[in-house]
């Protein structure tokens, strides 16, 4: 009964589409030979295609509705397969070891071109993890995150250009400057939430970019800064290939460091305060949490990572200009966080790898890249709005139950 009703609905949809596309896809007037071609085959394609698409769409939606019911009625939910596999030490230990080995061996196995792409992906992993603090944990929609990335990159480029300061000296400085700008942005937007906050942060991002573009005396304007030194290693001189590999390992180490710190932060008193702030601002304050300080730490700690990644980015490309830091970058980083799963470290890593690596490896389809990207986003938001990896809450060890305390991240 239900299936046949769905069938009829899809049938009418395909009819409608055939009618709509009839003038464009079926009729072709050949002005040279003065004849009209009737391309009935196109109509059949459209009919079958739209019928199948609409049927599959409906089927997926109904399946999603069904999946939601047991959660509402309070039945015991079985953990998804992936989560169950990862809870089993016999499976996740070898998997982790394999992953670690692969990461270490990557530059030796693949060309330096591939290594370069992977380094870029790791840069976005780190940016995603940083933005995840602000957006995923504290729930502050920040559309100008790229500004902090620019601050880090320019602080290295300028200090290196004018004073010849090295990478290692500037890496923490970039982080600190990022944090400082995070607080600078944080102060005016303390009272704002949601849409308003998004607009102001968007403006902030643009302001930073416009300053870099127009203040020629300070930032060399649109022509950018070239010949930035690569990171050094005890003064050993490296070839381009070796430097690529070195930056790759550097990025891996920094990513691990970020994961470690972010994981600890989100399982701490401060992380909990961020999440509470996201859930309900008034209740959060009524429980004695200082809203000002909590928001500012979120902005500052989020921006720190962007500042540090900026330094690495400048050192990796050896050339930066304001065009590297457009709103498109902010949107990309935000997409990584949303697609991967807000507040989930594993999700953000996965999101970054998917969003950065797929376009690189699908260069054959580069004309359709944005189309595919858009479709993937729409499908994702309809069928899995919580992101690829859902963040389950941590279970604490308490009382007489003596439960195992295990982190939420798998």
């Amino acid at each position: 009964m239900k299936a046949s009703a769905e069938f009829i609905k899809s049938f009418f949809i395909s009819l409608w589409f055939m009618l709509l596309t009839f003038p464009i896809l079926v009729i072709r007037v050949n002005t040279i030979e003065k004849v009209v071609e009737w391309r009935w085959r196109n109509m059949a394609f459209i009919g079958i295609g739209s019928f199948l698409l609409s049927f599959v769409w409906r089927w997926l939606l109904s399946r999603k509705e069904k999946g939601r019911q047991p959660a509402e009625t309070g039945n015991v939910e079985t953990l998804p397969l992936g989560r169950r596999l990862l809870a089993e030490p016999r499976i996740y230990r070898p998997a982790l070891t394999a992953l670690a080995l692969f990461t270490i061996a990557f530059p030796l196995l693949f060309s330096s071109y591939q290594t370069n792409i992977m380094t870029t992906a790791l840069i976005y992993v780190m940016l995603g993890l940083g933005l995840n603090i602000v957006v995923g944990l504290a729930g502050l929609l920040d559309l100008g995150y790229v500004a902090f990335y620019a601050v880090g990159a320019y602080s290295y480029a300028l200090l290196n250009h004018h004073f010849g300061l090295g990478f290692w000296a500037i890496l923490p400085v970039g982080g600190l400057l990022g944090a400082l700008f995070g607080i600078l942005l944080g102060f005016p937007v303390l009272r704002l939430r949601g849409d308003y906050l998004a607009i102001v942060t968007l403006g902030f991002g643009e302001i930073i970019r416009l300053i870099l573009e127009n203040w020629n005396a300070f930032s060399f304007g649109p022509s950018g800064i070239a010949n930035i030194s690569r990171p050094g290693l005890f003064g050993i001189s490296m070839t381009l290939n070796e430097a690529t590999i070195y930056i790759y390992y550097l990025m891996v180490a920094l990513c691990l460091f970020t994961i470690f710190v972010v994981n600890r932060l989100q399982d701490s008193r401060i992380g909990r305060a961020w999440i509470a702030l996201r859930e309900d601002e008034v209740a959060c304050q009524a429980m004695g949490i200082d809203k000002t300080r909590t928001k500012l730490t979120a902005f500052a700690l989020g921006a720190t990572w962007a500042g540090m990644v900026g330094v690495i980015f400048a050192a990796k490309t050896t050339f930066i200009n304001p065009a590297c830091f457009t709103f498109m970058e902010s949107a990309m980083i935000l997409s990584i966080v949303v697609l991967g799963g807000m507040g989930s470290i594993a999700g953000v890593i996965l999101g970054a790898l998917i969003l950065i690596l797929t376009p690189e490896y699908l260069r054959a389809f580069s004309a359709y890249r944005m189309l595919l990207f858009g479709t993937a986003m729409v499908l994702m938001m309809v069928f899995r709005p919580q992101g690829i990896v859902t963040n389950i809450r941590r279970v604490y060890r308490y009382g007489t139950k003596g439960k195992e305390s295990r982190p939420a991240q798998a």
Binding site: L265, R269, I270, R272, V282, Q285, A286, M287
Partner: protein, 264 residues
């Protein structure tokens, strides 16, 4: 008995509208005081003034967490007031719905702990001990409020009555001397209301916490309160014990209107 909260001629204006008109109120140690009144009489505005959400236009609010330690708290920030020891629940439940029950209570412990960013990252022995203490104390409060079985559930999955109790548990975690309950029995069935009554009495007797309660459920107000204060159009129209209020003609008029005066 010493007073823990003294409010002197509190007035709150919103533009030209006077929501509260010089109301006096006193809560003594281990008392349950109820604030009642028809809808729109200024009860919630009053509680918002007390907890720092609004800054009162005129008047003074004094608290004495410890005997002798008297302080004026007008216009102090919400979180500072919570730290000083006034905890509250909300008329419309405001839990952190995606956090677990235990975590909700742990947020209440936030202002009694002090681990910072560095502590969180390094996770030294002191931070770990503090964390475990937060967990233990929170669990203990859940046991006392009868929510221990659902400790790992997301708060949004709890039934309505349990969500109300969780709000109280979360407020208790801040170690208050005064608990402000804004319509705690709203939307509860009679059995849940009975359980709530029992919980409130237990909080007062065991934890030695004074309670200021805004409530519509007359049965609960009458059976629990040491003293009742009636507001109407922002003014205090009556104050007294349950029996006195029950017979006060002004109160009957405020609730039922002029016509019922003679009949009641």
């Amino acid at each position: 008995m010493d007073s823990v909260l003294t409010v002197n001629s509190l007035t709150m204006n919103f533009g030209g509208l006077r929501a509260i008109d010089s109301v006096d109120l006193e809560v003594r140690q281990e008392q349950i005081v109820a604030l009642i009144g028809p809808n729109g009489s200024g009860k919630t505005t009053f509680s918002n003034c007390l907890t720092g959400i609004y800054e009162p236009t005129e008047g003074d609010i004094f608290i004495s967490p410890t005997p002798g330690g008297r302080r004026r708290i007008n216009g102090i920030k919400i979180n500072r007031i919570a730290e000083m020891g006034i905890a509250r629940t909300f008329q419309n439940i405001r839990l952190f719905s995606n956090m677990t029950v235990l975590e909700n209570v742990m947020i209440g412990r936030h202002c009694r702990a002090k681990a910072g960013v560095l502590g969180a990252v390094l996770r030294g022995r002191k931070t770990r001990r503090e964390e475990q203490e937060i967990v233990d104390r929170s669990y203990e409060i859940l046991v006392r409020t009868g929510l221990a079985d659902q400790a790992d559930e997301p708060a949004k999955n709890l039934p309505y009555g349990a969500q109300r109790r969780l709000e109280i548990a979360r407020a208790l975690a801040t170690e208050p001397f005064l608990l402000l309950l804004d319509e705690p029995a709203a939307g509860m069935n009679p059995r849940e209301t009975d359980e709530l009554e029992e919980l409130i009495v237990r909080i007062r007797d065991e934890a030695k916490i004074s309670i200021l309660m805004i409530e519509h459920d007359m049965r609960m107000v009458m059976s629990l309160s040491n003293r009742i204060i009636v507001l109407d159009y922002g003014e205090k129209i009556a104050e007294g014990t349950a029996a006195q209020i029950w017979e006060n003609p002004d109160v009957i008029k405020a609730y039922l209107g002029e016509d019922f005066h003679g009949d009641a």
